[in-house]
């Protein structure tokens, strides 16, 4: 078993190191590999991204705040007081073994491909999944790291935009730039929008950081910016981040003479990585996205005037699939074009379908708390407000952390909401706004019903899917507080 541990105490002079030594000795005695990060004053021995990626379990022996805890997101863990790690290191290591075994799901791929990934489980081979279970666990950790850095941007941007809608009017704030004419609403909207423009770059940059450490950040961020540029959305950002991380990890494997080693992480890896990721995003990903966008736009136009409910369902599926990505944009643009042409039903379906992903996930975190990490639960609180304001991005942290479970669930909920909105003959005469434009909705009680049903469908389905592979988002083997702090 591979263990990664962090030791940390208030002054960082003595006990940090005693705990590190005790854990190292106990782990070795039990036949495990261990890397201890000492967050003390005497220079820090740091666990690298590779160490963390390869680890099966995390031991936190900390009486002081752990620095950069995001790096360890998704690892099963044992948390103890420093004194406990020093006095009873052997027991702590045993508990870590148990936590690692109790949490096969945390080491399971987000792809949901792992069945019984635990070491002693019956171990059915996981279909045609190319990744081994520990590889899959690593991917989940990389995604979780990216998501944990992205969440503050989602929360700040989303809440600012919702406030802008509430104060300045949902339609008005999008029409007049704060630089042309000052208003508080337009100011909030501009700032919130700027925060949102960083979602994908931050997601991509920190996925790459989780994989390849600091040299991964520049290729990842630039890949994420290009994902924005070519309209690839957050799925494009995930692709860019994974690509950037993989490229830099590969570059690091190339042996170089000692004299060059200093410049590799600050110059060579970022330079080559950024170029390679950028070229791939523009040349290999940009073109197909444009083609798909054109094709889908044509297909939607052909559907107009045929079956309204089916159109609503399809718009719903598209809205939720990539939330701000190319497919979503096609659906939204279609609703907008219909609105401008005087047909108000498709926009209604589009907005309902764009509100249910955050609302449904917010509800899901309330219904099944333990399936979500603490940062996800916080994101869930902000998602209520964002969903209500038709800020679909509120669902991105959840989708990016666990795409193969979350995206199908939110698509289903949005399809229901979109289909019902059309079936109920509801209309919407505004392009934005969520509950703030409910006055512009025709047949609004049934419209709210459509959203409510879609929300519940999303929440129930996502929690059901989260059970596949029995994943609890983050298995925490917490210490019973047996030792009070000594005075």
């Amino acid at each position: 078993m591979k263990i990664v541990a962090v030791t940390s105490c208030p002054t960082g002079i003595a006990h940090t190191y005693m705990a590190a030594e005790a854990l190292e000795r106990a782990a070795k005695a039990a036949g495990h590999d261990i890397v201890v990060e000492t967050q003390g004053s005497a220079g820090s021995e740091t666990a690298s991204a590779e160490d963390i990626g390869a680890a099966d379990v995390l031991i936190l022996a900390a009486d002081a705040a752990v620095r950069e805890p995001e790096r360890f997101a998704g690892l099963p863990r044992v948390e103890v007081k420093v004194a406990e790690a020093i006095n009873r290191a052997g027991e702590v290591v045993t508990r870590a073994e148990q936590a690692a075994h109790a949490a096969p799901a945390a080491a399971a791929p987000a792809a949901g491909t792992a069945t019984a990934a635990s070491a002693e489980g019956p171990g059915e081979p996981a279909g045609d999944a190319p990744a081994t279970s520990s590889k899959g666990g690593a991917v989940r950790r990389w995604l979780m790291t990216g998501v944990s850095y992205m969440i503050p941007f989602v929360a700040a941007g989303g809440i600012l935009i919702a406030l802008a809608f509430a104060i300045g009017g949902a339609v008005e704030v999008t029409e007049v730039s704060v630089y042309d004419e000052f208003s508080v609403g337009a100011l909030l909207f501009e700032i919130g929008g700027m925060a949102f423009s960083m979602l994908v770059p931050i997601l991509a940059g920190f996925i790459a950081y989780a994989m390849a450490d600091r040299p991964g950040i520049a290729p990842g961020v630039v890949g994420g910016l290009l994902a924005n540029e070519i309209g690839a959305g957050f799925l494009g950002g995930i692709a860019a981040g994974l690509l950037a991380g993989a490229i830099v990890m590969a570059l690091k494997k190339i042996a170089v003479p000692a004299g060059f080693r200093g410049i590799m992480p600050v110059l060579v890896y970022p330079l080559l990585g950024t170029f390679a990721v950028g070229a791939i995003m523009i040349l290999l990903i940009g073109e197909p996205i444009a083609a798909v966008t054109d094709g889908l736009t044509g297909a939607l136009e052909d559907m107009q005037g045929t079956n309204a409910v089916l159109l609503g369902v399809i718009l719903g599926l598209m809205m939720a699939f990539d939330m701000g990505g190319p497919i979503n944009k096609v659906a939204y643009t279609f609703g907008l074009a219909a609105l401008e042409a005087g047909q108000f039903a498709p926009m209604g379906a589009v907005m309902a379908a764009g509100m249910t992903p955050p609302l449904g996930l917010a509800l899901a975190t309330v219904l099944a708390k333990r399936r979500y990490t603490p940062p996800e639960r916080e994101a869930g609180k902000a998602a209520w407000l964002m969903g209500a304001s038709f800020i679909t991005e509120g669902a991105i942290p959840f989708a990016a952390a666990d795409p193969l479970r979350v995206i199908p669930a939110i698509m289903a909920g949005s399809a229901v909401a979109g289909g019902l909105a059309m079936a109920f003959n509801t209309t919407l005469q505004a392009p934005h706004g969520g509950i703030f434009v409910v006055g512009l909705v025709g047949n609004w009680p049934l419209y709210l019903l459509a959203i409510a049903v879609g929300t519940v469908v999303t929440a129930l389905l996502v929690n059901l899917l989260k059970r596949v592979g029995a994943t609890t988002a983050d298995v925490v083997a917490k210490t019973p507080a047996e030792e009070p702090v000594h005075a």
Binding site: P10, T11, I13, A14, H15, T16, Y17, M18, A20, E21, A22, R25, T38, G40, S41, A42, G43, D63, K81, A83, E84, I86, N87, R88, E483, V485, H486, A487
Partner: protein, 154 residues
């Protein structure tokens, strides 16, 4: 720079007969040694820092050791004083084991350096049974310094 254990401690900072039987008195007794050696310039400020650290959680461990420590502007250079107590002193270990090996670590404010690294190496060694046993059977302060010099290096 060849930093050795002699840069952070000396025979003058070792007592094998710690008189104090209470935690605060023991800290005071060892702090006196540091001050007499010129390593601590403002004993009150230093002891205050040590007390603050003790109050966030006792530094006594169940293996009979305690490492009270403090970071303070009243410290001239990173140092450690060692006292061996015939009776043991309660340093708030989880199981109430009294500490018979007490290390008082003094660190100056500000950037950390190799001295601190050396002190952290000493802390690591204390987890080893053999090291503690050797300290318990040392006959003179010179023996103590010798043991530490052998075991603790950068």
């Amino acid at each position: 720079m060849n930093l050795t254990i002699d840069d952070i401690t000396s025979e003058a900072l070792v007592t094998l007969d710690l008189d104090s039987t209470d935690r605060w008195a023991a800290i005071d007794e060892l702090a006196d040694l540091l001050q007499a050696d010129g390593r601590v310039t403002d004993k009150d400020a230093f002891v205050r820092a040590v007390r603050q650290r003790e109050e966030t959680g006792g530094t006594g461990m169940e293996m009979g050791i305690a490492i009270p420590h403090g970071k303070s502007a009243g410290v001239a250079k990173p140092s450690v004083a060692f006292g061996r107590s015939p009776t043991g002193v309660d340093f708030g270990a989880g199981d109430d084991t009294p500490a018979d090996l007490v290390f008082l670590i003094a660190a100056p404010e500000g950037e950390s350096d190799l001295h601190i690294t050396l002190l952290s190496r000493l802390a690591r060694k204390l987890v080893h049974d053999e090291f503690r046993d050797a300290l318990r059977s040392a006959a003179t302060p010179a023996d103590v310094i010798h043991i530490i010099r052998e075991e603790v290096t950068l």
